[in-house]
Symmetry: C2
Subunit: 497 residues, 2 copies
C-alpha cells in the first residue's frame, strides 16, 4: 500500500514530512472528508501528552475547563464585524436537521429534510458563543476574573491542507478569560504566552521566540495578538501558539458588563489564547531526521524499546527473561518500556520499527550480554552506529538519567540550529538572498517602516511575512530594508507554515 | 436571575434534578443551540474525573486512543441499512462550506455559499467512518485484534432534551475493536461492560445490573447489545453504558477483511461500546438530596471545604492560619481542599455554597476549636445537623479515612435503595401497581414470552420497557405476565430515562 522509505530532508522537505508521519504511524489524510485527517494512536498519544502538560499548567494558573456547544448560530458570528470577516467565510454550515430515504437521493438514497430557520456554523473558534454565556455569568466585579479553558474540535475549511499543520478540522484548546481592567487582561495574555513557551521549550524541546503580531497578522477581532514562533528544520517559521488581547470588542458585541467596586457598570476586558494539534507538526519538523520520527523523552509514549537477540529457543528464553527484567526496572523507574518479543520479526526490523516511531532509547540484549550482565543502548538522537554498553544492574536509573540527557541534547541541538539561522540583514538584496538557495530559510532580523503596505510588498515579492515584533533583541532603531524609512527596531521576517 | 431554592424530590423529581444542576453549577441549557447544553466548570470537572477513571482502564486493557473526523459522508451512512435507519434520520447535516455577506441575508446579513457535492452529517456515532479506516489498516490476522477508543463529541437531534441525560450534542467515548473470531469479539464486549460496571460501582458508587438488551432495544446494526442499568431515586432506570456485538455487519458493509492463519480471507468481527456525559446525570440522580448535589469522594473535584468562623480580625488571623494548616495537611494526604476565606460571605452562606456543590466533607474552625486543637467535621452524606469533633493533629489522615467511609456509605445506601425496589411480580395487575402511586417506580423482575409484540404492548400500556435480560438471577422458567405463554426466565422491566 505504501513504501516504507523516507525521503531525505535535503531532497524534498515536504515529502520527508509526510513520510515521517506515515512511517511513524502518526496520522493519515482522511481523503473522504475534505481537508481532514485521522490521528492514529501513536500521534494521538503524543498529543495526549502535550495536552496533559498544558492542562496541568492551565489549572495551576487558576483556569477551569468547561464545554460550550459545537454549533454557533449565524447571528452570533455577525455581531463582531472583524471576526466574521476573518472566520465565517470558510465555515462548515449546518442547514438541515435530518435526512430521509428518497428515490431522488441519488447514489445514497438519502436526501436532506427539516431546513433550519437559522443555519448554524461548526465553531471555527468560540469567542462568540462564549461571549454570550459570559454575559449571563458576569454581573459584578466579584465574578471576575473569569478564567475558562475549553478542549475541543474546531473547523475552518482550508484550501491547502497539510497533516497536523493545517487541516479543516483540528483539535485544540481555547482559553477565554474576562477581567475588570485592561492591565489585568494584558497580564493574562502574557502569562499564557509564557505557559505556551514553557511547554514548547521545556517539554517539546522546541525553542521559540515570543513577540507581538503586526496588525495585518493579528486575530480577527483582537486589539493585539502575541505569538511564539518556532523554526523548523527547513528554516521556515511555525506559529506555535497565540494569545490575544481582545480589549472590550467582544464585551461590547455580546454586552458583557459588570458593576465595578464603585458601582459603575463597565464592559469586561477579555483575552483568548489557543494551541492545537499543529504543535505535533512542529514537534516533528523540529527534531525528526532522515531515519524518521524523533520524540523528546518528556512526550514519548514509549521511552525504551527492548530488543532481544537470539538464535535458538535456549538463547531466547534467557534473553527474553533478561529483557523482561530491564522492562520491569524501567517501569519501576517511571519510564514507559516495551519488550519487543515478537517472533515474526528479526532484530533489524525491530530496530527499524522503533527508530521510525522515535523511541528515545533502544536496548539490545544478546546471550553474551546476559552472560556478562550487560546490555547495549542506542540513543535515537545520535548516529545509529553509536552504541553504549551498560550494566544490567541499575539499568532503570541509567536510562532515566539518559532521558534527561536526550531531552537537553534535543533542545540544545534545535536551539543551535535556530540561532545559526537567526540573522541580521540590512539590505533588501541580503534579505532576498537569505531566503533562497541551499542555505536559504532563515529568521531575518530586519528593520521595517511599520506600514502595512511595506509588509504586503515584501510578502508578495519574497513570501516572507513578519512573524513577530520580538520582545527581546537589541531594540536599536534603523532604516527599513525596503523603503529606507525610519524603523524603531528590528522585526522577524520568515517564510512560514 | 434564578432562585436558589431546590424543589424537594417528593414534590417534583424532574424540577429537583434541574435545581440541583443549577445550584451545583454543573450545566445550563444552551437555549441558543437547539437541545444543547453548556457544561460549566464544576460539571466538567466531574466529567474529567470520570474520563480519567475510564481512560486508565481502557489503556490497561490494551486499547489505544485515536481521533477520526467529525463529519461523515452521507454515502457511508447509507451502507449499513439498520444503522442508517437508527441514526441518520435526526442528524445535523452540513450542506455548504462557507458564508458570504449578502443583502438577502436577512437579520444576519450572511447567506450560505459553496454547496457541497455530497453533504456530510455530524457524527451521531462513528462505526461507519471507523469501519472505512479499519478496512485500510487491517490486512492480516497479525493486525488483529485492533483495539481503538475515541473521546469525542457527537450529535443526535433530540426532540425532548434533559441536561446530561439527553442532549443533542454530548461528549462520550466510543470504543471500536476488530477481532479474528466471534468468540474473541464477544469476550471483548463483556470485558468492556465489566469495565463500565467497575467504574459505575467502585468509582461512581452507583450499583448497576448488567444484561442483554432485547432485539427491539439493541443498537442499530448490532447482532446483540448489552448494557448496565442503574436505578435513579425515582425508581426509574438509566441505561448508563452499552457494549455491542456488531458481528460481521460493519465488516461486510465496509469490506473489512483479513487473511487468517490458514491463508483464507475472512470478514472481521467487530465490537463497539460507549459511555457519555449521561453518566453525570446518573451520578446526580443516584446520590443527591433535597439540599443539592452529593458527589462520591472518588469523583469529587473538591474533597474538603474548610470554613473559618470568626468575629474580629484577631480571631480571623488565628482561625485562617489553622484552616490553612488543615488545607495543607489535606493536600499532603492527596485530597483536594479549599480554604474558604472569603470576607464577603458569612459562614452559613459558605456552608450552603459547598453543600450545594456536593463537597464530601466540610471542616469548621472557630477560635475555641483552635484553642482546644480541634475542628468540627460535617459529612455531606449525613444529616446536616450531625457534627463530629476531630483533633487538628492528624486531620489529613482522618479526612482521608472519612473519604473511604463516605464512598462506601454512598454505595451501600444506593444499593439498599435499589434492592428494596427490585421486585418480583407475577401478574399484570401487580406489575401495573408497582409502577404507579407513591411507592411506584421499581425494577420489575417479570416473565415475558420473548416476543416483540408483547414488549410493545406492555410499553404502550405502562411506559415500562425491558431494560435488560439480566446475567444474574434465578433463571427459573415461568409464564409471561401479559400473555401467560411460557418464559425461559425473568427479565427486568422499568420506566426509563
Amino acid at each position: 500500500m505504501s513504501t516504507d522509505a523516507i525521503t531525505p530532508r535535503s531532497k524534498d522537505f515536504a515529502q520527508w514530512y509526510q513520510d515521517v508521519i506515515r512511517q511513524g504511524d502518526l496520522a493519515e489524510p482522511a481523503e473522504v472528508v475534505r481537508g481532514c485527517m485521522v490521528i492514529k494512536p501513536h500521534g494521538y498519544a503524543i498529543w495526549e501528552n502535550i495536552q496533559k502538560e498544558l492542562d496541568r499548567r492551565f489549572k495551576a494558573t487558576g483556569h477551569k475547563n468547561a464545554y460550550f456547544p459545537l454549533l454557533i448560530p449565524l447571528s452570533f458570528l455577525a455581531k463582531e464585524a472583524e471576526h466574521v470577516e476573518g472566520f465565517a467565510m470558510e465555515c462548515a454550515v449546518v442547514t438541515h436537521s435530518g435526512l430521509r430515504a428518497s428515490k431522488d437521493g441519488g447514489k445514497t438514497g438519502l436526501e436532506v429534510k427539516n431546513p433550519l430557520e437559522e443555519p448554524y456554523v461548526i465553531r471555527p473558534t468560540s469567542e462568540t458563543i462564549i461571549g454570550h454565556y459570559f454575559a449571563r455569568w458576569i454581573q459584578s466585579h466579584r465574578d471576575l476574573p473569569l478564567l475558562i479553558n475549553q478542549w475541543a474540535n474546531v473547523m475552518r475549511w482550508e484550501m491547502r491542507t497539510r497533516l497536523f499543520l493545517r487541516t479543516s478540522e483540528f483539535l485544540w484548546q481555547e482559553g477565554h478569560t474576562a477581567h475588570s481592567t485592561h492591565a489585568e487582561a494584558l497580564e493574562e495574555v502574557h502569562r499564557m504566552l509564557g505557559v505556551y513557551a514553557d511547554v514548547a521549550e521545556n517539554v517539546m524541546a522546541m525553542p521559540v521566540i515570543r513577540g507581538q503580531k503586526t496588525d495585518s497578522e493579528k486575530f480577527a477581532g483582537a486589539l493585539s495578538s502575541f505569538s511564539m514562533e518556532a523554526m523548523m528544520q527547513d528554516g521556515k517559521a511555525l506559529q506555535a501558539g497565540t494569545s490575544h488581547d481582545l480589549g472590550q470588542n467582544f464585551g461590547k458585541a455580546f454586552d458583557v458588563r459588570f458593576q465595578n467596586k464603585s458601582g459603575e457598570v463597565e464592559y469586561v476586558w477579555q483575552t483568548s489564547w489557543g494551541a492545537s494539534t499543529r504543535l505535533v507538526g512542529g514537534l516533528i519538523m523540529t527534531h525528526s531526521d532522515d531515519a524518521g520520527l524523533v520524540v523528546p523523552p518528556k512526550l514519548a509514549p514509549i521511552h525504551v524499546a527492548i530488543i532481544p537477540i537470539f538464535k535458538n529457543d535456549a538463547e531466547r528464553s534467557k534473553v527474553v527473561e533478561a529483557g523482561e527484567q530491564v522492562r520491569r526496572e524501567c517501569v519501576a523507574a517511571g519510564l514507559s518500556a516495551v519488550l519487543d518479543d515478537r517472533d515474526d520479526l528479526r532484530p533489524g526490523a525491530k530496530h527499524f520499527h522503533w527508530e521510525q516511531r522515535g523511541v528515545p532509547a533502544r536496548v539490545e540484549i544478546g546471550p553474551r550480554d546476559v552472560a556478562s550482565g550487560s546490555c547495549v543502548i542506542k540513543r535515537r538522537d545520535r548516529d545509529p552506529k553509536e552504541k553504549t554498553a551498560a550494566p544490567l544492574a541499575g539499568v532503570g536509573a541509567a536510562l532515566t538519567a539518559l532521558m534527561d540527557e536526550i531531552q537537553q541534547a534535543l533542545f540544545a541541538r534545535a536551539k543551535a540550529f535556530r540561532d545559526s539561522r537567526l540573522v541580521k540583514v540590512d539590505t533588501y538584496d541580503d534579505f532576498r538572498a537569505a531566503l533562497e538557495g541551499p542555505s536559504g530559510g532563515n529568521f531575518l532580523l530586519a528593520h521595517w517602516d511599520g506600514t502595512r503596505e511595506t509588509e504586503e510588498q515584501i510578502k508578495k515579492e519574497t513570501r516572507a511575512t513578519i512573524r513577530c515584533i520580538p520582545f527581546e533583541g537589541d531594540g536599536e532603531p534603523g532604516r527599513c530594508i525596503l523603503t529606507g524609512r525610519p524603523s524603531a527596531r528590528r522585526v522577524i521576517f520568515a517564510q512560514a507554515y
